[in-house]
């Protein structure tokens, strides 16, 4: 049976333009937002401000990347914030309470995050709990462990953190802030693994059609487990950066990043042809949110109004992105039907 499909070169130029507009609508909105902010404030496009945006987006990026890999595999992870917290916490305690040299403390932080991931993996892969409930449970447990461990939610600070440790988030190498180097490195690794490597393709296969992936011989259990462990570890890196920058660990600080992370992933997915979460799209989503944040700050809006605006604009942005990407095939079909009507 013949199935009609679109031959791209059969469309008129204006139709191609409309499709292109649709596909990248979000990017245009992004650019419009940048334009607006630069008009409203002189300092917005200045070098130091752009650097601020970049630096401020690294931790969110790490969370968003962790979520990207989990959502690509067909799951969800509500406990990334807690993994971030564990990373931040273990690295501080590592130095303050266990007197570890800072590199070992960093390792402790990474292990902390991966423990959260491992707990998720066990619940989901071994016990068969759905990712939503499993990571929700991990979130609760992680929360309470933090509460208990800090005697009620008090921050833990370590002013005497070695200079080298502080340099992770605050220093520079070859003129580039270290924090950006860390972020860029993780981004590069994720890009290579998720977009280019065999593992990334398999992880995507899991998320696209789990049953087909199984039959095709992909070790679905192994990959699902690893995905959560990797997510936890990546989130922990974010936590370590936070601790390095502030020399203080605040319990439950990670939760605030969850929404931004998920939003960034979905925004990124809407920019992809097949609607799949992807590393570059996530980056764009993160930058969008960071820019939004920064712009609202610069405008000197009242703290509370900013919170409300940010939420509302976020909802609008995601809605626009998803709505547009959902309707894209319909528009394509409509055009192809027009085309066929005129040629018959």
């Amino acid at each position: 049976m013949k199935i009609a499909n679109l031959e791209p070169n059969q469309l008129a130029t204006w139709q191609k333009a409309v499709l292109w507009l649709f596909k990248y609508a979000f990017l245009f909105a992004f650019i419009a937002m940048i334009f607006y902010f630069s008009v409203v404030s002189d300092s917005f496009l200045g070098g130091s401000n752009l650097m601020n945006i970049a630096r401020g987006s690294v931790v969110v990026l790490l969370i968003a990347l962790a979520l990207t890999v989990v959502i690509s595999s067909g799951g969800i992870d509500l406990s990334v914030g807690v993994a971030l917290d564990f990373g931040a916490w273990f690295v501080i305690i590592g130095m303050a309470s266990w007197s570890l040299p800072w590199p070992l403390a960093v390792l402790a932080g990474l292990i902390g995050g991966s423990l959260i991931g491992a707990l998720n993996a066990m619940l989901i892969v071994v016990l068969g709990v759905t990712p939503f409930l499993a990571t929700l449970g991990t979130f609760f447990i992680g929360r309470s462990i933090q509460q208990i461990g800090t005697g009620g939610g008090a921050s833990v600070s370590y002013r005497k953190a070695p200079e080298d440790f502080q340099a992770i988030a605050q220093g520079e190498s070859l003129g580039i802030p270290n924090i950006l180097l860390v972020g860029a490195t993780v981004l590069l690794v994720y890009f290579i693994v998720m977009e280019l490597s065999t593992h990334g393709k398999r992880i995507h296969a899991l998320g696209i059609q789990n049953s087909a992936a199984r039959v095709a011989g992909i070790n679905t259990k192994k990959y699902r487990a690893w995905v959560f462990i990797i997510a936890g570890t990546t989130a922990a890196i974010g936590g370590i950066l936070l601790s390095s920058g502030l020399r203080i660990y605040t319990p439950m600080a990670g939760f605030a990043y969850l929404l931004d992370g998920i939003a960034a992933v979905f925004i990124g997915a809407s920019l992809h042809r097949g609607g799949r979460p992807n590393v570059l799209g996530t980056l764009i989503g993160v930058l969008f949110l960071a820019t939004l944040n920064n712009g609202l700050d610069i405008m000197g809006i009242d703290f509370n109004v900013k919170a409300a605006l940010k939420g509302i604009i976020l909802v609008l942005a995601i809605s626009a992105a998803v709505l547009v990407s959902n309707r894209l095939p319909q528009v394509e079909q409509w055009f192809s039907r027009q085309k066929r009507a005129t040629t018959e």
Binding site: I3, T198, S211, A212, V215, G217, I218, T220, G274
Partner: protein, 505 residues
């Protein structure tokens, strides 16, 4: 003289490239159990869908209860009292029997739902009309498959004005002992004056139940058989199969090597027990059984999709545990699944990606997938299997069924497996692609692979396989060399009636 209830005459239905119904007719009397038989693709499901209002026939007429029906829609069919008991059971596991019977047709009173009334009516319908002893407060998830099927039937009855119930393969998922329940229930329906259109592959049940049987072949009714006709079973099969047996199947040299795969006393504690067979390299073995006979489950067990409770699987004389398809692949066993759209292909990925997905490590350097190598591999398969259209970048969902199947085959060939398991390999595939696939399967054997095919198409089994194992309700009832069988005799063995089987047990 029995009164005519349903009269469908001269129904024709055409789809792009396929003539599904060719001037077909179907007549059912009141209070009659009327059978409908035919091979896959003969037009059975199309004519039923036309009756259900899912399709609009291109020409012909439908009369119901001596009233003409100009256009049949789901609403019209419902109003006329035509009910359908489909093959798929869509039930909510945690609903009670009463709730399940009234889903979408709830009884209400002044205070909302009339729970007590629904329970009472459920119980009385089940008992009076179907003779079933099922509590209306039992949960669906605690019921056996037969009981769930009866609930489905009861759903149709609990409505007022039911005059005709269409059963589509009602006993396919049932175990032997449960079939009687359904059969008794159907007989009681006739006693109540309700007509039944009974579609089934099980010739034994058809001959036991039906007053008359219509046989479909190639989109047309080719015969109407009365119960009283002697040897009606044989006559049925003859009509179903017809005289034409095309040469679809390539002949080949049977060069057989050592035993690749051996299965001993395999059982899953549910759908099949005590299955034994061995496949050598270069051999093609067929599991022949109707829908629900257990062939699918045996195949699933061999490739690691189904847990095995007893017995063992050995690859090259070494016992192995096949816990998942991934483990199976490592042992050299690969599956071409039956439901290729959900289990075989990634519809939204390209042909290239689909072909390479199981063997990514072969087309990558240092873990990075190389587009060049992937393209090479894909092109190799596209050429070898003649996959059309030939652009490897096209999304798999745009390919025809036959070409989609070839893509799945290509993926398995790329994986260089030794044991190929094909589950219903040409379901929904047109004749041209079928030949192609048969040739590929034959080539596999020529290349020394061991091939296991599960199919409910007897022609396919006989044409392709060296040996045939007949599976009926989970047991291997006989094993033959394919040259010792004819299509008729194979069908007869596959569709043994339950009474005969019970005697054997």
């Amino acid at each position: 003289m029995p009164k005519l209830l349903l009269e469908m005459s001269g129904i024709t239905k055409e789809f792009p490239g396929v003539l599904a119904l060719d001037n077909a007719s179907l007549n059912i009397y009141e209070a009659e159990i009327h059978g409908l038989v035919g091979e896959n693709g003969a037009g059975k499901s199309t004519i039923i869908k036309s009756l259900a209002g899912v399709y609009q026939h291109d020409s012909g007429s439908i009369q119901f209860g001596s009233k003409s029906v100009p256009q049949m829609t789901a609403a019209v069919a419902d109003e006329l009292g035509i009910r359908f008991v489909h093959q798929e059971l869509h039930l909510v596991p945690h609903f009670t029997v009463a709730e399940s019977m009234f889903m979408g047709q709830e009884l209400t009173g002044p205070g909302g739902l009339s729970v007590r009334q629904m329970r009472q009516q459920a119980a009385s319908t089940l008992y009076d009309s179907l003779g079933a002893d099922i509590s209306p407060t039992a949960l669906i998830r605690d019921l056996s498959p037969a009981e769930r099927k009866l609930i489905q039937v009861a759903r149709a009855l609990v409505r007022q004005g039911t005059r005709l119930i269409v059963f589509d393969e009602p006993t396919a998922p049932l175990a032997a002992a449960e079939v009687q329940q359904v059969i008794s229930a159907v007989k009681r329906l006739r006693e109540k004056g309700i007509s039944v259109l009974y579609v089934s592959h099980y010739v034994g049940e058809i001959t036991e139940l039906c007053d008359r049987v219509t046989v479909f072949r190639n989109g047309k009714d080719v015969g109407l058989i009365d119960k009283d006709t002697k040897r009606s079973g044989k006559e049925l099969i003859r009509l179903m199969v017809g005289r034409d047996l095309n040469q679809l199947f390539p002949s080949r040299e049977h060069l057989v090597g050592e035993v690749f795969l051996e299965v001993n006393s395999l059982g899953d504690g549910d759908k099949f027990t005590d299955v034994n067979f061995a496949i050598r390299g270069g051999e093609i073995i067929g599991l022949a059984g109707v829908l629900g006979s257990g062939c699918e489950e045996i195949v699933d067990a061999v490739v690691g999709l189904r847990k095995v409770k007893s017995g063992s699987i050995s690859v090259r004389s070494k016992k192995v545990r096949v816990g998942s398809p991934s483990a199976a692949l490592k042992k050299g066993i690969v599956l071409i699944p039956r439901d290729r759209r959900s289990d075989g292909l990634f519809l939204n990925l390209s042909v290239l990606e689909n072909i390479n997905i199981a063997t990514l490590q072969d087309v990558s350097t240092v873990g990075i997938v190389s587009h060049k190598l992937s393209e090479q591999r894909a092109r190799q398969m596209v050429d070898q299997l003649d996959i059309r259209p030939g652009e490897t970048g096209r999304q798999a969902r745009y390919l025809s069924g036959g070409n989609q199947q070839k893509v799945v085959l290509g993926r398995s060939l790329a994986a260089d497996a030794q044991i190929f398991v094909l589950d219903d390999p040409t379901v929904g595939v047109d004749i041209g692609a079928k030949t192609e696939i048969y040739r590929q399967v034959s080539d596999l054997a020529t290349a020394g692979k061991a091939v296991l095919i599960s199919s409910n198409d007897p022609a396919e089994i006989l044409g392709l396989c060296d040996r045939v194992l007949v599976i009926v309700r989970g047991k291997v009832v006989s094993e033959h060399r394919s040259q010792d069988l004819t299509k008729d005799s194979l069908i007869e063995k596959m569709t043994q009636s339950i009474t005969r089987e019970e005697l054997r047990v």
